[in-house]
Amino acid sequence: MEVVLFYILAGMILIFSVLTVTSRRILRAAVYLLFVLIAAAGLFFVLQFEFLAAVQLTLYAGGIIVLIIFSIMLTSHVSEKLEAPGIKKTAFALIACAAGAIVTISTILNYDFPAYSGGNVDASMKAIGTSLLGYKENGFALPFEVISLLLLAAMLGAIIIAKRKEN
């Protein structure tokens, strides 16, 4: 069951990823990206990280994609078709990415991964909550706090840039 699900999701991810980066209609690309993200959330479900899947759906699918779509609306016409990238550019990029992928995958395949040792991950809300606020090892209070600073700063930054001139 999970195996099948995995392959379905993986297939979805790959196909939609490819579509995301190749579709010439920008809005469609955004939608394909959404599918990729949802599929990834599906994978998280399969791996029993329900909370993360939820975060993925809300933040990514809900937040980021919406943001992206808004910005697309602001900057381009919906019907507009993107120019296809130059052949040379595509070819070079393909070569580089293919080479990268081949190298990485072959390295991965050569790596002697240990056997599956996982049991059930305790990704319950309680465990997540304790970890998130823990300040001992495997506690994530510090990053959690720091990221709030990041969010504040980034928000301010985004605001002062996006704000139109006041005159």
Binding site: E137, N138, G139, I147, L149, A153, L156, G157, I160, I161
Partner: protein
């Protein structure tokens, strides 16, 4: 942790004040922010406990504290130098508070970065240091270059953090931890981990602008407001170098050969290419951008041997680099702010009307070039010495040849200021007290650091060597 908390406090106070002041009185924030930051800088020097907290996510030791203090001083100087610019551009963006807050937050990010004990804090620190700054890069709405620079920075930064993250994920997968201490134990000599290491290295190298990850640098430096350019070229670069050393010698120390070969090659490439590009630059900011790329190449000479003294030389060099580069940027900023001129040709005959600024510029450039008796000489000399001690004579030779090339273009600026003449040289510029103070601090630092050998000895006593 005090440094970071202090910074957050300073940032928040400034931000609240910004909210409470009206548009007409906005400029009053500037002195307050500067004084607050000065207080913060001074407090940073008070003794502080070292150790690990948050289960090892956050480490401090004497050398990180020293580094943080140095960065504080640097940012203080940047604040001093940007006061004039902020006042003049008041109408363009009405948010001094945001400006100060973002820089302070970003600085806090760097503090976290160099204190980080795990990859998560490393990653968040990096992003905190970069993302808000990207916003500031794009802040000058009147100039399209500013926005272009912002786009280039944030997109390439995103790509680089993607690459780093991929590496981190592989490290996590193969070692089972994101904590440096545990990763280092499990890290070994196998292909996948080396691949992961290189991915992470690429991410950090991007921040340091190491060839071939450097191309964003010049465009971003040129487009950004000068104070942000100085920030990126000095503080951001310094912290990235620092964390690179920690990664190389506290985490990935098990692969000395590969590490050294990579450092060797990238170092040679970086200084050579940085220099070759710098030769032809006309825009001062772009010029300093390439010069700072080349400088980063030299730093690797201190890192490559992996000795304690080498690391001390790196920190010492960074300390000097803060003063030298900020001195140069300070002058560029003052001139750009007063006249809008940023080209080298505009500097012709600068000495005639602005002798003091020309002298500060000269000192800074000499320091960058490594000419005695200013501090840069000592910084470079020690980098080279530490590499030579480990037998990297050819590398040192390449480096010193590059120093000579770099001298050429530094001399071009000096030539413009002192030797060339033009009919209408830049008029006498009356800098405000902040700029003067900022330049004076730089000049004093450049002149003094080399003479007090104890500074280096102090650093050396605090640093760690190869594991």
């Amino acid at each position: 942790m005090r440094h970071e908390l202090m910074l957050v406090a300073v940032g928040v106070i400034v931000l609240i004040m910004d909210l409470m002041t009206s548009a007409e009185t906005k400029h009053r924030i500037i002195p307050v922010a500067i004084v607050l930051f000065l207080v913060n800088t001074i407090i940073g020097f008070l003794p502080i406990e070292t150790g690990k907290i948050f289960g090892g996510m956050y480490n401090t030791d004497d050398i990180t504290i020293l580094m943080k203090n140095a960065m504080n001083i640097g940012v203080f100087i940047i604040f001093l130098q940007s006061a004039e610019w902020l006042r003049r551009h008041e109408d363009r963006f009405n948010s001094h508070g945001a400006y100060f807050f973002i820089i302070v937050a970003s600085l806090a990010g760097m503090d976290y970065l160099i204190s980080s004990g795990d990859f998560l804090m490393f990653f968040i620190g990096t992003e905190l240091a970069t993302i808000p700054i990207a916003a500031l890069v794009a802040i000058e709405k009147a100039r399209s270059k500013s926005a272009e620079a912002g786009v280039k920075l944030i997109l390439s930064a995103a790509l680089s953090s993607g690459i780093t993250l991929f590496g981190i994920s592989l490290i996590y997968g193969t070692t089972g931890s994101i904590y440096f201490a545990e990763v280092s134990k499990a890290f070994g000599n196998n292909s996948l981990q080396i691949l992961a290491f290189i991915f992470i290295f690429a991410g950090v190298a991007f921040k340091i602008s190491i060839v071939p990850f450097h191309l964003w640098t010049a465009d971003v430096y040129e487009g950004a407001p000068i104070s942000i350019t100085s920030y990126l070229s000095v503080i951001s670069k310094a912290s990235a170098i620092f964390i690179l050393v920690i990664l190389l010698y506290k985490v990935f120390y098990a692969i000395p050969d590969i590490r050294n070969n990579i450092l060797y090659a990238t170092s040679v490439l970086t200084m050579t290419i940085g220099n070759l590009f710098a030769i032809r630059q006309q825009n001062m900011k772009r010029f300093l951008a390439f010069s700072s790329i080349a400088q980063a190449g030299f730093v690797f000479l201190g890192i490559i041997g992996g000795t304690q003294i080498g690391f001390a030389a790196v920190v010492y060099f960074l300390l000097i680099y803060v003063f030298s580069n900020l001195g140069a940027f300070g002058v560029v900023a003052a001139i750009s702010c007063a006249t809008g001129k940023e080209n080298m040709d505009d500097y012709n005959g600068l000495y005639k009307n602005n002798p003091k600024m020309s002298l500060v510029m000269m000192l800074s450039l000499f320091s960058l070039a490594g000419i005695p008796p200013v501090a840069g000489f000592f910084g470079k000399f020690f980098l080279f010495t530490s590499a030579a001690k480990e037998g990297y004579f050819i590398l040192v030779l390449i480096a010193v040849v590059n120093v000579t090339i770099s001298l050429y273009y530094y001399l071009l600026v000096i030539k413009a200021m002192f030797i060339n003449e033009q009919e209408n040289p830049i008029e006498r510029i009356d800098n405000d007290i902040y700029t003067k103070l900022g330049l004076a601090i730089c000049a004093a630092g450049i002149l003094a650091i080399g003479f007090f050998g104890s500074i280096f000895d102090f650093i050396n006593s605090k640093t760690f060597g190869a594991m």
